[in-house]
Subunit: 218 residues, 2 copies
C-alpha cells in the first residue's frame, strides 16, 4: 500500500467512527461529545482526537463534534464522499447476500455488475442485476467504469477472478474468498477474513476457561 | 479483551497462516520454507518467525515447516483444534449465506442453531436447520451447549440479539451487523466490518489518482 499516509489501523477506526456517527445521525443526534463517541466506539477519547487530527481541526471545545460535518470530513478525506462503482465476481451464497446487502450502496459502494463462470448462473437475475459471463468482465467493466472488484468465488477460483479484474484495469479488489491472490503492484487488495474474528473469540474464551493455576503438564 | 496474551495483530496473522497452510495441504505440500510461507502471506519471514515463537520452536533449519504440524500447533495454541458450537441470530441474506458457507465447519465452527424473530422465517429450513424463534434462544443454546453467537440481524436488532446471547450464557459474539453492541464484561465481542476494507481500497486508489504536484487550493 504505497503512498498510504494514514496508518491502516486508523482507517479501520475511521470506518468505525463513520458507522457510529451514521447511527447517531439516524437517531437525530446533531452534536456528539468526544466522550460519548469514544465510549460507543470503545476507544479512548485521546485516540479519537489523534485520529481526527489527520484531517485538521474538528470539534468545538465544550460542545463536541457536529455529527454531519464529521461524517462529511472523514468521508472526503478517505475519498468515500462519492459513489464507487463495484463489480462482484462469484454469484454464490455470499455473493448473492452482498448483492442484496443494502449497506453497500448506503455507504457509497454501488455494485453495478455481477459475474460468474457457471453457465447455470449466467443470465440469472439478482435484485435486477443480470449475471454476466466472467469472460465478458473486461468489456463490461470498462463500459460501466467499474473501479472496485469484490471476489466472492470459491477459493480455487479467486486467482482467476483477480486476473480478470486486473486485466480490466480495476485498481482495487476486496477478496472475500479464503485464498491469497497475486496481482500487479498497482492493484490494491484487501482480504475479508471472518475467521480471525472467530479465532480471537475462541482464544479468549479458552483463556478464560483455563484454571488460573495451570498445572505444568497441561 | 483481558487475559489476551497474544496481540490481536498476531492472531490475525496466525489465522492467515492457517488459511495459507491449509491450501498448501490441499495441494499435497508437506513441507514449506519460511520464505515461501512469508511470500504467500505477504509478510516478512522474520515476522513469521516472531509470531510462531509464541508457541515454542517450529521449523527445521534449512528445510522449513511441516505443514500439518504447524497447522496443528497454531490451532491448539488458539484453542481452535476442536469444534466450537455456534448459533446464528438473524436469518436474512447474510445469515443464510453464512449458514451455507462450508468454510465454517471446515475451520472448526459448527453452526448448529439459527434464530430469527420474524414469524415468517420461524420454522423455515436452511440447510436442514430449522429457524427457531429468538425467544427460545436461551433454552436452545443451553440444550445444545452453544459457545459462540453470530449476529447477522439488521443494525437496529443487533443489541437485542446480543442481550439474548448474553442471557443464554454465551461468552463469545461475532457481530456482522453494522452497529455497536454493549455486553457484560465477560463476553468477548468481535466486529466484522467489510467497510473499512472498502474504505482502505478507495482511499488508496484516490491517493494514486491525485496529481503528484497537488495544487494548494485542491
Amino acid at each position: 500500500m504505497k503512498s498510504d499516509h494514514i496508518p491502516r489501523a486508523t482507517i479501520k477506526r475511521l470506518a468505525m467512527y463513520v458507522q457510529v456517527l451514521e447511527s447517531f445521525k439516524r437517531e437525530g443526534t446533531q452534536v456528539v461529545s468526544s466522550e460519548l463517541l469514544a465510549r460507543t466506539c470503545n476507544v479512548n477519547p485521546s485516540q479519537i482526537r489523534k485520529d481526527l487530527a489527520y484531517f485538521g481541526e474538528f470539534g468545538v471545545r465544550g460542545v463536541g463534534y457536529h455529527v454531519q460535518d464529521l461524517i462529511t470530513a472523514i468521508k472526503r478525506s478517505l475519498g468515500v464522499d462519492r459513489m464507487w462503482k463495484c463489480a462482484l465476481v462469484g454469484v454464490g451464497n455470499l455473493g448473492k447476500a452482498l448483492l442484496r446487502h443494502r449497506e453497500f450502496k448506503y455507504r457509497g459502494f454501488d455494485i453495478v455488475a455481477a459475474f460468474d463462470c457457471d453457465p447455470f448462473k449466467i443470465g440469472e437475475e439478482v435484485i435486477g442485476l443480470e449475471v454476466v459471463c466472467t469472460r465478458r468482465l473486461k468489456e463490461t467493466a470498462r463500459e460501466l467504469d467499474i473501479e472496485i472488484g469484490l471476489i466472492t468465488t470459491p477459493p480455487d477460483r479467486a486467482q482467476r477472478a483477480a486476473n480478470f479484474l486486473a486485466e480490466a484495469g480495476i485498481k482495487g479488489i476486496i477478496n472475500f474468498a479464503p485464498a491469497r491472490i497475486t496481482v500487479p503492484s498497482d492493484v490494491h487488495v484487501e482480504y475479508v477474513d471472518f475467521f480471525h474474528h472467530l479465532y480471537a473469540v475462541s482464544f479468549s474464551i479458552t483463556l478464560d476457561q483455563r484454571p488460573k493455576t495451570q498445572p505444568a503438564a497441561v
